[in-house]
């Protein structure tokens, strides 16, 4: 268990898997870029939480899952949702509040649900996804359906009570849940070290008797190895794992917010360690032809362009939707 094991497994990740991780990474990276471009130009108006810098964490984690496994994520979740397989068209349509969106435009960017691809809950409340992930895991345990649940949350979320209640319950019940903490070093404008008594989030796990590993989440092989080990353990009935994936939020908390509170040295280090060019270079080093990578990127740009067009040209939901889905039975007009 721990860092050493993850690192030794890392060598085993094959090129096809890395290429799949890259495919998902590029989809996230280009989608994030497109959102910001359209926000910048004024084409879109919505509250957007960038995922720049955290692409590889999600891409590697979700590559280790089965399509029918469950995901719970947060407002900063577009990387997780895309990596899990939500179709870009309906994601874009939901972000823009359109009738063709995943949730008919009624959830919006912070509340993406798409059970078909296992995207079960996206919450805007810090920490609240963890107890719900336990319920998904409990359902799998009681039904014996062999699914694994991954719940994503930030470093800041480990200071809220729900985290602690959920960790304890998952551990005593041996739930098939992977707790993926994406430690991007900041919660809004507060640095991790200024808000968190534990120097490392993994150090909290022994208090709950839970397996835990801290990895360089920006290293695709290391991240994938840790993800795979945790998923395999959960599926085999070995209970939950806490993964602390060290990553970095390369932009402000929300699109348009400033990030001047981030020390310059940290920013520079982050740019040097940027996970996306890092994974690309790794694939080139593994003799994957440049043309293969360029082909992936080009295809993704096409998919995104089509998704944006679909979202922008889709209609808004009918006003009558306000009365639907409140309760099982439609509310009388």
């Amino acid at each position: 268990m721990g860092l050493a094991k993850a690192a030794s497994d890392a060598a085993d990740v094959d090129t096809d898997t890395l290429l799949e991780i890259y495919r998902r990474t590029a989809l996230i990276n280009r989608t994030d870029e497109k959102f910001r471009a359209l926000l910048m130009s004024g084409t879109l108006r919505l509250v957007y939480y960038p995922v720049r810098g955290q692409e590889v964490v999600s891409a590697a984690m979700m590559t280790a899952l089965r399509p029918d496994d469950y995901l719970v994520t947060t407002y900063r979740g577009v990387h997780d949702q895309l990596a899990k397989g939500i179709p870009p068209k309906i994601l874009w349509a939901e972000f823009t509040g359109k009738a063709t969106g995943a949730c008919k435009g009624k959830g919006g960017p912070m509340h993406i649900t798409h059970p078909e691809t296992g995207v079960m809950v996206t919450t805007g409340i810090v920490g609240s996804g963890l107890p719900i992930a336990n319920g998904l895991g409990l359902s799998s345990l009681l039904k014996g359906d062999g699914r694994v649940t991954v719940v994503c949350f930030g470093d800041g979320s480990t200071n809220i009570g729900a985290f602690h209640e959920a960790m304890n319950m998952a551990s005593i019940w041996k739930l098939p849940v992977v707790f993926l903490c994406q430690n991007n070093r900041y919660g809004e404008h507060t640095a991790f070290a200024d808000s968190t008594s534990a120097g490392r989030i993994v150090d909290r796990a022994p208090g709950y008797g839970m397996n835990a590993v801290r990895v360089d989440g920006n290293d695709a092989s290391e991240m994938y190895a840790a993800a795979k080990a945790a998923v395999d353990r959960a599926r085999a009935g070995g209970g939950p794992t806490l993964i602390e994936a060290m990553t970095y939020r390369m932009l402000g908390h929300v699109f348009g917010s400033n990030a001047s509170y981030v020390p310059k040295a940290l920013q520079e280090e982050a740019v040097r360690e940027d996970p996306v060019p890092r994974l690309r270079q790794k694939l080139l080093d593994l003799q994957v032809p440049e043309a293969t990578l360029a082909g992936i990127e080009q295809a993704i740009d096409g998919v995104i362009a089509e998704a944006v067009e679909f979202a922008l040209s889709s209609p808004y939901p009918d006003i009558g939707e306000i009365r639907k889905d409140v309760l099982g039975q439609e509310i009388a007009a």
Partner: protein, 330 residues
């Protein structure tokens, strides 16, 4: 076969509903603090015997973690399971409001109907038994105010059984409120399979002069007052809401359209309570035919006191109910 029961208690009614629901549907499971037999079958014994019958995996004692209990119930519910979560006392809902209000109540809408939350939350509460300020509140108005939640409460053991079974089978999150002063109360036993539909109030006593709308334990007090007033020639119609939200406006308005007078009675503090909503609906719909303003009776505006005389004085009383009814008669 056991001899048929002459009467059952409120707790037995709840136990029967859980038993029937678990027998009928493998997706139903119970979770909460101390609910399994090994931990006593719940502090109010409502789940006693169920883990022996269905196993401690389906009748699951939990850590003292209300957020984790309701969160786990929400997560299981969106996969199609039908969890029944016991939150020992209603006041403890305050530590898991996020899961109830932001998640259970809203996931159906926010997902555009892709996920629903067929969750039942049972909780006990009520003044008059000496639990003091943090174990006695009636907070039904808080939850009735949240779109997406259903709120139910029973006034007798058979209704408890019938309403709880319906709540478990219902596809929306339902809060089921139990009055701790009534757990031992006896009543006629319901037949197997007996269900009471959600969203429907019941006229428990017919009358022609004034309608009293109430729910839960005060139904018994109002019935007693109605009986006394009948001796004075006042004919009181009594409505037990059974489901507080969604509100059965039809039954209430039909009755008041007939009597032209109404009083709302509840155990919760009167200020900003369900009575204000019910009264307002009646005024909005029937103002021109009302013979008197709608009266309201609730408990006093203070935390529930401990000292027995204070606690009794805090509660709504039969005298106050009778006075409110008389006031509408002019």
């Amino acid at each position: 076969m056991n001899a048929p029961l002459k009467t059952i208690s409120f707790s037995q009614g709840i136990n029967m509903a859980l038993d029937e629901a678990m027998a009928a549907d493998p997706n139903v499971f119970v979770l909460g603090e101390d609910v399994a037999d090994e931990q006593g079958g719940g502090v109010f014994k409502a789940t006693l015997g169920l883990s022996a019958k269905y196993g401690a995996s389906r009748v699951r004692s939990t850590p003292i973690s209300e957020q984790a209990i309701i969160g786990a119930a929400v997560g299981a519910a969106i996969t199609g399971m039908r969890p029944v979560a016991e939150i020992m006392f209603m006041n403890f809902l305050t530590v898991c409001m996020d899961q109830i209000v932001n998640h259970a109540a809203k996931l159906r809408f926010m997902s555009g109907g892709l996920t629903s939350v067929p969750l039942t939350i049972r909780c006990g509460t009520g003044a008059g038994v000496g639990f003091g300020g943090q174990h006695s509140d009636m907070l039904e108005a808080w939850f009735a105010h949240v779109p997406g939640m259903k709120v139910v409460t029973a006034s007798n053991p058979a209704d408890a059984k019938g309403l709880l079974l319906s709540a478990i089978e219902d596809d929306d999150p339902t809060l089921f409120i139990e009055n701790v002063a009534m757990y031992a109360a006896q009543g006629a036993p319901p037949e197997a399979g007996y269900k009471v539909p959600l969203g429907k109030a019941k006229v428990v006593r017919e009358g022609s002069d004034v309608t009293v709308i109430t729910y839960g334990r005060p139904v018994l007090e109002v019935a007693a007052v109605a009986e006394t007033l009948a001796g004075e020639g006042v004919s009181v119609e009594v409505i037990d809401l059974r489901t507080i939200a969604p509100f059965d406006a039809e039954t209430v308005l039909n009755s008041v359209a007939k009597t032209n007078r109404a009083v709302v009675v509840h155990e919760a503090v009167k200020a900003f309570g369900v009575g204000a909503e019910v009264s307002s609906r009646i005024h909005e719909e029937l103002f021109s035919q009302l013979k008197a303003p709608v009266g309201r009776v609730g408990s006093k505006y203070s935390p529930v006191p401990f000292s027995p005389p204070l606690e009794q004085a805090w509660l709504y009383s039969r005298d106050e109910i009778a006075a409110a009814i008389r006031k509408t008669l002019g």
